[in-house]
């Protein structure tokens, strides 16, 4: 069963698994409280529009797996002749939206309290597996730490080096349009 709330344009979906809230309005983000009273931030579907390469692109939200949420940018096109047309989609890029852990939040906080650039570089270079810098988070407005740290060439030379090539792919680019 589903219902649409008139005030916030939230779509509420009720099922055996529980209640799901989908923000359909234009407001980018809004603070709410979950069932346990914990503070949560709900992001609307439109808040990911910045990912579009062209205004006619479509966004596909793949949320079936909680640990594998991704937003894909696609372009619709039609194929066929007068007898019948088929609608297809050209895939342009995808962004995996990860859930931030407490350890990752503490690491990001450490970067923000650094007083000098060399302190930031030390923290970046001390990470044996810098995967956390490649992950995109809604808490970072949909971007990743690589984009945020792109002002520093020494951090970039470490994070973008070929030794971490297993984390790089064309399908999930590290550099894409962001709000920063």
């Amino acid at each position: 069963m589903g219902l649409l709330l008139a005030e916030n344009k939230d779509f509420i979906h009720l099922s055996k698994a529980g209640m799901h809230v989908l923000s359909l309005g234009s407001q980018e983000q809004r603070a709410i409280k979950d069932i346990n009273g914990a503070d949560r931030m709900i992001h609307s579907l439109e808040s990911c529009n910045f990912l579009k390469v062209d205004r006619n692109n479509y966004l596909v939200f793949e949320c079936s797996k909680p640990d594998g949420r991704a937003v894909s940018v696609q372009q619709e096109y039609s194929k066929g002749d007068g007898s019948g047309e088929e609608t297809l989609f050209q895939h342009l890029l995808s962004v995996k939206l990860c859930e931030v852990t407490l350890r990752e939040l503490l690491l990001f906080n450490s970067l923000y309290v650094c007083k000098t650039l060399s302190e930031i570089i030390d923290i970046v270079n001390d990470q044996p597996d810098p995967q956390v810098f490649y992950k995109s988070f809604l808490e970072l407005n949909g971007t990743n730490m690589v984009s945020i740290l792109s002002f520093d060439s020494r951090s970039m030379s470490y994070l973008l080096s070929d030794q971490f090539a297993q984390h790089f792919s064309k399908e999930y680019p590290l550099f894409y349009r962001n709000k920063i």
């Binding site: 062209d54 619709e76 194929k79 342009l92 890029l93 973008l160 064309k170 590290l174 550099f175 349009r177």
Partner: protein, 146 residues
């Protein structure tokens, strides 16, 4: 910036990445950042093979044509880009009165140079719902000559 460009050329070598440089490419030139690898890559050179565009033809010449429409509408514009009778697709020539030599057929390689989209240009777009054509200036704030 050099490191990021090298990363993009190696791991994001796709026309989608060209949109990252639409506003800042003149700044890269001004700052003296090397862009050769970027220009040699597929970032600004979109090679495409679309079902709506003929893949073979009996015309062996290399042709250079302008394209001002929306990039994502490219597949519908073969006849806009090549309106002449000599470029009619082979399967349509059979019913046509134009006499052509079909004894030799060549594979066609299409590529679209996206560099002109960096500066100011007149962008044409067809609304997918109303089919109305809209034209407007894009990147008005970008001046390659400044």
């Amino acid at each position: 910036m050099q490191i990021i460009i090298e990363y993009i050329v190696k791991y994001q070598d796709d026309f989608v990445s060209s949109f990252l440089f639409q506003k800042n490419f003149p700044t890269l030139l001004e700052k003296g950042i090397e862009v050769k690898k970027l220009l040699d890559s597929h970032v600004f050179n979109y090679e495409f093979d679309l079902d709506e565009w003929p893949s073979t033809h009996n015309n062996p010449r290399e042709e250079l044509r302008p394209f001002n429409q929306n990039l994502f509408m490219l597949r519908q514009h073969y006849k806009t880009v090549f309106p002449e009778d000599e470029f009619i697709p082979l399967d349509e020539q059979k019913n046509d009165s134009v006499k052509v030599d079909n004894s030799k057929v060549y594979k066609i390689k299409y590529s679209l140079n996206l560099l002109p989209s960096i500066g100011t240009y007149l962008h044409k777009e067809t609304d997918p719902y109303t089919k109305q054509e809209i034209s407007y200036l894009k990147n008005e704030d970008i001046n390659l000559l400044a």
